[in-house]
């Protein structure tokens, strides 16, 4: 049985091509995926991300629970509304999921986790929460729209009542607030995203999500599908769970070391394994690749390096760059002249730092 978001009929009315995504019937594109990509880079686009799972954690000891549950340190969240990107690890240091934690009140934190990992995440969180007396509540009654692009914030802010506009405009990056939207709809507005552009991710009750979508559309925000979302996040150097990392991979091997926080005395799940792994030497690393030749890097292609073989994780055509880019996991060490096997042809690629694109522009050295 395929799940549908409240916006399903709206997507179909807009002529979207629908696909199954983690058990959800979702729009991959409404027309040209490349035009949707450019709309987000140059103006404003919106994505139905209602398939993502909102989980509320409540109880006096919620912060203490999160200190154990996730690998980044929630003590970085000092002011209500602040958000943190983190991995949730198992005892072996494998990645169960990546997620965003929002600090709302000392006894109330909100998580947004991936759709495809929903059941496994909830089971894990509930199991760990029991001893902390923390209540875990999934919030399926909420939908979510990501509004992204250089003009996205202003277009959304224009829909808010006058008194809410200033607060929304002042909201800092990676922070959220609760406010009122058009016609009194309650909004949870987070200045976060998965595109490398500024914008908001908006949590709204299912009963109002279609209304909000139509307001945004009328304000000139272009509907964009999961196809554009994927090329945008890849250009932005953001990992996709299941493709770039999973339980068999540690954050060291997935370019996620920046999300780890080894604080004195904080014994988060997976810490011991991560420290052992680091001490033993990390054998594989995740790198960015750019291909200057024509063709497209794809998931699963073989990567040839001076130290042996690796493989393409996320790969694809980057519309902002007009060439193909990828993440690859390769043996650690100086890789030498790197090539990718595309249908038996060895095509040279460059190893680069990512993000590939930030705030609408290619990063230095990416174009070549």
């Amino acid at each position: 049985m395929t799940d549908k978001t409240e916006l399903n009929a709206t997507h179909r009315e807009l002529g979207a091509r629908m696909v199954d995504f983690g058990g959800w019937d979702m729009p991959i594109a409404y027309g040209s995926q490349i035009e949707e990509h450019h709309a987000v880079r140059k103006d404003a686009g919106m994505f139905d991300v209602s398939h993502m799972t909102v989980v509320d954690l409540t109880g006096e000891n919620t912060r203490g629970f999160l200190r154990t549950l996730v690998a980044n340190n929630v003590d970085k969240l000092a002011k209500p509304g602040k958000a943190l990107y983190t991995c949730m690890l198992d005892e072996n240091g494998g990645v169960i999921d990546d997620l965003i934690v929002y600090f709302l009140r000392e006894d109330f934190f909100r998580l947004v986790v991936n759709a495809a990992t929903r059941a496994k995440d909830l089971a894990w969180i509930e199991k760990q929460a029991a001893t902390f007396g923390v209540a875990v509540r999934e919030r399926p009654e909420f939908g979510m729209i990501a509004v992204q692009g250089p003009n996205a914030r202003e277009k959304l802010i224009g829909l808010l009542p006058a008194e809410a506009q200033e607060k929304a405009r002042k909201l800092g990056k990676f922070a959220a607030l609760e406010t009122e939207g058009p016609d009194g709809m309650p909004l949870f507005l987070a200045r976060t995203g998965y595109t490398g552009e500024d914008g908001f991710e908006v949590v709204v009750p299912n009963s109002r999500v279609v209304e909000l979508w139509k307001h945004l559309h009328a304000a000139g925000v272009a509907p964009a599908g999961l196809g554009a979302r994927d090329t945008l996040r890849l250009e932005a150097g953001m990992n996709l769970y299941g493709q770039d990392m999973d339980e068999t991979v540690s954050p060291w091997e997935a370019a996620l070391a920046w999300t780890l926080s080894f604080d004195e005395g904080r014994d988060f799940i997976g810490r011991a394994a991560l420290e052992q792994h680091k001490a033993a030497g990390v054998k594989r690393v995740m790198v960015g690749l750019v291909m200057d030749d024509k063709g497209v890097l794809r998931h699963g292609q073989k990567v040839l390096t001076a130290n042996g073989e690796g493989e393409i994780l996320s790969g694809g055509f980057a519309p902002t760059l007009g060439k193909s880019i990828a993440f690859a996991r390769i043996p650690a060490g100086e890789p030498g002249e790197v090539r990718v096997d595309i249908r038996g042809r060895e095509v040279p690629v460059r190893v680069v730092k990512f993000p590939f694109v930030r705030d609408g522009q290619p990063m230095p050295g990416i174009i070549g």
Binding site: Q33, G227, V296, F317
Partner: protein, 134 residues
């Protein structure tokens, strides 16, 4: 873009079309339905001129890559490749905008005209994609 399938074409179930020309050659491309399903095309790997192709041998002659996926293109007829659409190297999106005209992929000098009888007529192909959509 029109949804009309030109009446002079024949199709494979795998969505390639072929047009029989007056000079003993045939032109091959992919259908409007196929380009729509693939999405924006970003790369086409063309065959070598002079290479021989065999209908129904399960070997891809060309590859089209969209933002979503790579897809093999099969030849509806056997013969020898006599021309390729070089313009697609710089403008693969022509397949999206003109699948039945400017977006042709290669031409072959076919060896057995009777192979056309094995292919789908425009009506039969229209029915096939109609059923695929439901």
């Amino acid at each position: 873009m029109s949804n009309e399938i030109p009446g002079d074409l024949h199709f494979l179930k795998s969505h390639e079309w072929v047009r029989i020309n007056d000079d003993g050659t045939a032109t091959v491309g992919i259908s409007d339905h196929a380009q729509g399903a693939l999405g924006d095309l970003v790369y086409v790997e063309l065959p070598e001129v002079g290479s021989s192709v065999e209908a129904g041998d399960g070997k891809g002659v060309a590859v089209v890559e969209s933002v979503k996926a790579a897809s093999d293109i099969y030849s509806p007829l056997s013969g020898e490749v006599v021309a390729v659409n070089e313009a697609l190297s710089d403008a693969p999106e022509t397949i999206n905008s003109e699948p039945y005209e400017g977006g042709w992929i290669f031409k072959i000098k076919y060896s057995d005209r009777k192979e056309v009888d094995e292919l789908l007529t425009p009506d039969a192909y229209a029915e096939l994609i109609e059923n695929e959509d439901h």
